[in-house]
Amino acid sequence: MTVTQDPLAITPVAPPRDEARVARREQIRLVLRSKTFIAGAIIVGFWVFCAAFGRAVAPYSPFETDILAKLEPPSAEHWFGTDRTGRDVFSRVLAGARDIMVVSLGATVLGTVLGTAIGLATGYLRGLVDDIVSRVVDAFLAVPVVVLGLLVLVAVTPSKLTVILVIGVVFTPIIARTVRAAVLAERELEYVEAARLRNERAPYIMFGEILPNVLAPVLVEFTVRLGYAIFAIATLSFLGVGIQPPAPDWGVQVFDHYQFLNGGDWWPTVFPAAAIATLVIGVNLVADGLTHALER
C-alpha cells in the first residue's frame, strides 16, 4: 500500500554510473595534468626501463674488465669512460638500476604493509595498544634511518634481503604514524559505528571498512618513502653494508671511485652519483604530483 507518491524521487537527474567514472577520470586527469608528475614519471620510467632491459641494451657487459683500458675518460667507445678495472661505466650505470630499484621497492612495500597494519590497529583500537606502540614509534623516529640501518647491517651479513628487511622495518613506524593520523579522522565517521552495530569484528572494520578510505594517503606516503629508500640504500651501499660488490650498484660504484676524484678521474664517480640523484628526484616529483592531486 503505497502512501507517498513521489515516483520521480527515485530517479536521479543524471545516470549515476557515468558520474562515478567521470569523477575517477577527473582525478586521473588531475594527476596527469600535473607537470611535476609528468616530469617525475618520465625520469622514473627511464630508470624502470633500464632496470628491466639495462643489461640487454648496454653496449658492454657490466662485469667485463679490461685492465689495459682502466680509468679511461668518456669517449665515443665508452660514453661514460671506464672504471678502475676497465669496466664500462655507462653499462654499469644502466645495469645498476635494477638492484637499487628492486631493493628499494621491496623495502618500501614491506614498510608500507607493516606500517599500514600497525597504523590501522593503533588508530582504530586506541587505548593501551596505541600508547605503547606510539611510544616505540617515537623512539624509532628519534634515530636517523641510515644510522639505524648501519647499526643493524654491520651486525648481520649484508645481502639484498637483509637490506630490504632492515629498511622496511625502519620505515614501518614512519608510515604507521601517517596512517594512524588518517585512521583517527576516519574512525570518527559514523560508518564505523554502523559497522559495530552489525557486530563486525575489529579486523574487518580496520581492513574492510577503514583501509579503502585511507588508501590515498597510503599511496602518497609510499611514493615519498620510496624516494627516501633509494637514497638510504645508496648511502648504505656506499658505506659498504648495502648491496655488495661486484654488483654494478651505484652506491658501490661511487664508493669504489671517489678517491680517484682528486686525480681528476671524475667519471666513474659522477655518473652513478647523477643516476642516484635523478632517480630520487624523479620519485619525489611523482610523489609531489600525487600529493597535490589526491590530497586536495
Binding site: 502512501v3 507517498t4 524521487a9 554510473r17 562515478a20 559505528e193
Partner: protein, 685 residues
C-alpha cells in the same frame, strides 16, 4: 567617490539587474543564476529562500565580487548604493568590501581566524578603516557590548575556540558591523546553532538593524527564520527568482507552485503524523547549466501545461510590490497534493509492555580530571510502535542517551537497559546478534554514515549477511524488498553514496537500519542535513515503515516542528537530566516545564504570530559543574524561589502520564504560562 556618495543616499542599497552567473566545470560554462533582478531599499531587509543548489550563496558571493575562480558574471549588473560593482577596479572592490558590504557566513568557527585573539580580529576592521590602535580597541569593546557580549574585555583576550558557537557568531556579526556597512549579507547565520541561541542571534540582528539602519540580504533555507527577519522575500529556484513580495503575504498566500510546495513540506500548525502525510515536491532540482526552456519549475510542477514548457512566464504582478513568475499564479495554491492518504493512518497506537526500558542510566565522562556527567539517572520506557521524541539543546545528553541504548557507550555502574524485559549487556561486545539487530540507528549525516567506498549493494547486503545471516539469492531478494520499502530504485544498487542525492543516501541508511527487522530504531536528527522537500519525504517514509513494521522510534531532533509531527511522546533533556516527559500534546501545550516553554518560544513560526517570547539567559552550564539544586535554575525565567537553588526537584507524575521535574506546582505553572509575556524575560546584557 563623492558623486557616488550622494547617489548612495537615495539609490537602493543593492540592485541586481538581470544577473547571470556561470561556473566553469570540466571545460563547460554552467549557468547558475539565470537573470536575477532584485532591489533592496535603504534600511530594508530582504530574504532569499530556496533549497540548496538554487544559487542563494552564489548571489551573495557575486555581490561581494567574491566568486570562486571558476565563476563568472556572464551578464547583468550589480549596483551597490548606486555604484556599478562590476565596473570597479580591484582596489575599489577592496574598499567596497571594507566599507559598504559585509558578510556573515554560516559557520562562525571557520569565519574566525583560530590563532588570533578575538579582540585583535575585530580591532583590525577598525584599523583598516583608519583608526589608531588604541581607538580601535576602544571601539571593539563598544562593538562587542553592542552585540550583547557581557564581559567584552575578557572575551577580547580569548581565542575563537574558547567561545561557544553563539558567542562566535556574535563576534562575527560585530566584525561585520564594525565597518558600518550599508549592506549586510547574512548567509544562513543561524544554521547549526541551537534554537535558543538562534533566537538570541536573530533578536540581536533585528535590534542592530534598527540601530545601524543597515540593509540586509538574508539567505536561509529556513522559511520561518526568513518570515521573522525580513520585510520582503524572494523565492529562488534553479537560479531564477520565481516569486517576490512582502514576506508575510508570500508566506500567507504564496503565488508560485514552488513556494506553495515549499510551505507544504513543513510540518506546522501542530499537524500530527496520523492526520496527514507531509507534502513533498516531486523530482529534483535541474542540474546547474541544464538547458531550461519555458518555466524553470515545469518538470516538478503539478500545474504545468503546454504553455509552461514553451514560454518562459513573464513577471505577473500579483499586487502592489508583489509578482510571480507563473502563468497560472491565480491558481498556484491549487497544486495537487502529492501525498493524499494519511500516512500511517493505522499507526499502532503505542501500548502494552515497554519494548525497551532504560533504568537509572547515567554516563560520566572523565575529561582533564573533571567528571562530566553527560547523563544523570534517566528512566525511560519505550512502548512498542511508538515514537518517543527526544529534545534539548546541544550538550543536553540526547546523543549520549542514544549511544547508551545502542550499546556504543556503556552506562555507569547501576544503569540498566532492558529489551522486552530481558536485561541487555552494557556494550555491543556483550550483546548477541539478536540484541544487536533489535536496536539500530539512522544517523544525521548520511555522507559520514555510509562508507563512501562501498556500493549500495555492499552497504545493505553486508547488513543482511551479518544481522540476518542471508547470502546469495535470498540475500538479493531480501535486499530488493528492503530497497523497495524505502522507495529506492534498485537499478541504483551499484551506485556509491557520492553518486546519490542526500535524500537517496538517507534512504539507503534507513534500509540498512531496517535490515535486521529492528524493534527500536534511533533516529538521530535524520533530516537535519536535508532540504525541506526531501525531509518531508523521509519523514513520510519513517511514518510508513513504522505503521508497516510496528517499530519503535527514539527520535532525536532539534526541530520541534518535526518532533511534534512525528512523536507520540516527548522527553525533554537538560544537562543530562530528564526534565519533562509526556504525550506530545501535553508537552507542547502549557502547563509545561519552564525549559520546554523556553525551547518552544525560541522557534520562529511560519504563521508569524506574536507569542510571548522567553529568552534563556546565558549558556547551558558546564556538565562538569552542574548548578546545585535544580540544574535549570541559573537560566530559569520562572524561578520559583530559593528552594530551586537548594534542592533538586524530583521527577514527579503531575498528571497521568505527564512527568515534570519542577518545584512549581502544576496549578501555578498553568496560571503563569497562561499569563501574558513574562516581564522577567531576560537577555544576556
Amino acid at each position: 567617490m563623492s558623486l557616488a556618495a550622494t547617489a548612495a543616499a537615495t539609490a537602493p542599497a543593492l540592485e541586481l539587474d538581470d544577473l547571470c552567473v556561470a561556473y566553469r566545470v570540466r571545460g563547460a560554462w554552467r549557468q547558475v543564476l539565470r537573470g536575477v533582478s532584485l532591489s533592496i531599499a535603504q534600511g530594508e531587509s530582504f530574504g532569499l529562500v530556496g533549497e540548496s543548489g538554487c544559487g542563494k550563496s552564489t548571489a551573495a558571493f557575486a555581490v561581494m565580487r567574491y566568486l570562486p575562480r571558476n565563476g563568472r558574471v556572464t551578464s547583468g549588473e550589480i549596483r551597490v548604493g548606486g555604484a556599478d560593482l562590476l565596473a570597479m577596479s580591484e582596489a575599489d572592490v577592496r574598499r567596497h568590501r571594507a566599507r559598504t558590504v559585509s558578510m556573515v557566513y554560516q559557520n562562525p568557527g571557520a569565519a574566525l581566524n583560530p590563532s588570533i585573539r578575538v579582540g585583535d580580529q575585530v580591532a583590525e576592521v577598525f584599523e583598516i578603516a583608519g583608526a589608531s590602535r588604541a581607538q580601535a580597541r576602544e571601539r571593539t569593546r563598544e562593538m562587542l557590548a553592542k552585540v550583547q557580549i557581557a564581559d567584552a574585555g575578557r572575551v577580547m583576550r580569548r581565542y575563537p575556540h574558547q567561545l561557544s558557537g553563539g558567542m562566535q557568531q556574535r563576534v562575527v556579526i560585530a566584525m561585520a558591523l564594525a565597518s558600518d556597512p550599508t549592506l549586510l549579507i547574512l548567509d544562513e547565520p543561524t544554521t547549526g546553532l541551537d534554537a535558543t541561541v538562534e533566537a538570541e542571534v536573530l533578536d540581536l540582528v533585528a535590534s542592530l538593524r534598527r540601530e545601524f539602519e543597515t540593509s540586509v540580504l538574508f539567505i536561509s533555507h529556513n522559511l520561518a527564520v526568513i518570515r521573522r527577519m525580513c520585510d520582503r522575500v524572494g523565492v529562488l529556484y534553479a537560479g531564477r527568482l520565481v516569486e517576490e513580495g512582502p514576506a508575510d503575504e508570500v508566506f500567507r498566500d504564496p503565488r508560485h507552485p514552488y513556494s506553495v510546495g515549499l510551505l507544504r513540506c513543513i510540518p506546522r500548525g501542530g499537524v500530527r503524523k496520523g492526520e496527514r502525510p507531509l507534502d513533498t515536491i516531486p523530482g529534483f532540482l535541474p542540474s546547474p547549466g541544464a538547458d531550461l526552456r519555458g518555466c524553470v519549475f515545469t518538470e516538478r510542477c503539478g500545474l504545468a501545461q503546454e504553455v509552461c514548457r514553451a514560454e518562459e512566464p513573464p513577471l505577473y504582478p500579483v499586487s502592489e510590490g508583489r509578482w510571480s513568475r507563473c502563468h497560472f499564479w491565480p491558481q498556484a495554491h491549487e497544486v495537487p497534493y502529492t501525498a493524499v492518504t494519511p500516512a500511517g493512518a493505522g499507526a499502532a497506537r503505542a501500548n502494552g509492555e515497554a519494548v525497551l526500558r532504560v533504568e537509572n542510566a547515567s554516563k560520566t565522562f572523565r575529561q582533564d580530571g573533571h567528571h562530566v556527567r553527560a547523563l544523570a539517572e534517566v528512566d525511560l520506557g519505550l512502548r512498542p510502535g511508538e515514537t518517543l521524541g527526544l529534545v534539548g539543546e546541544s550538550g543536553s545528553g540526547k546523543s549520549t542517551l542514544a549511544r547508551v541504548v545502542l550499546g556504543l557507550t556503556a552506562p555507569d555502574e547501576g544503569g540498566r537497559i532492558e529489551l522486552d524485559g530481558e536485561p541487555l549487556a552494557p556494550t555491543l561486545a556483550g550483546r548477541g546478534t539478536e540484541d544487536v539487530r533489535a536496536i539500530q540507528i539512522v544517523f544525521q549525516n548520511p555522507d559520514a554514515a555510509l562508507n563512501r567506498r562501498f556500493s549500495v549493494r555492499r552497504i545493505v547486503g553486508r547488513a543482511l549477511t551479518k544481522l540476518v545471516g542471508l547470502s546469495g539469492e535470498r540475500r538479493e531478494a531480501r535486499m530488493r524488498d528492503l530497497l523497495h520499502a524505502v522507495r529506492f530504485d534498485d537499478r541504483l544498487v551499484g551506485a556509491r553514496p557520492s553518486q546519490l542525492s542526500g535524500g537517496l543516501k538517507q534512504r539507503v541508511a534507513i534500509a540498512r537500519a531496517f535490515a535486521g527487522d529492528p524493534r527500536v530504531v534511533v533516529c538521530d536528527e535524520p533530516t537535519s542535513a536535508l532540504d525541506v522537500s526531501v525531509q518531508a519525504a523521509i519523514l513520510n517514509l519513517l511514518v510508513e515503515l513504522q505503521a508497516e513494521k510496528g517499530v519503535t522510534y527514539l527520535f532525536i531532533s532539534h526541530d520541534l516542528g518535526v518532533v511534534r509531527y512525528l512523536s507520540d511522546r516527548i522527553a525533554v533533556l537538560y544537562l543530562g537530566r530528564l526534565m519533562e516527559l509526556g504525550s506530545a500534546e501535553t508537552v507542547f501545550a502549557p502547563p509545561h516545564h519552564p525549559y520546554t516553554e523556553a525551547l518552544l518560544s525560541a522557534v520562529p513560526t511560519l504563521e508569524g504570530e506574536e507569542r510571548p517570547r522567553i529568552r534563556l539567559a546565558g549558556e547551558i552550564p558546564s556538565a562538569a559543574e552542574p548548578p546545585a539544586g535544580c540544574v535549570f535554575h541559573t537560566r530559569c525565567p520562572r524561578k520559583w524561589g530559593e528552594i530551586c537553588e537548594r534542592e533538586e526537584p524530583p521527577l514527579a507524575e503531575v498528571e497521568p502520564g505527564h512527568l515534570l521535574r519542577c518545584h512549581i506546582p502544576l496549578g501555578e505553572l498553568r496560571r503563569l504560562q497562561a499569563a501574558p509575556p513574562a516581564p522577567q524575560s531576560k537577555t544576556t546584557s
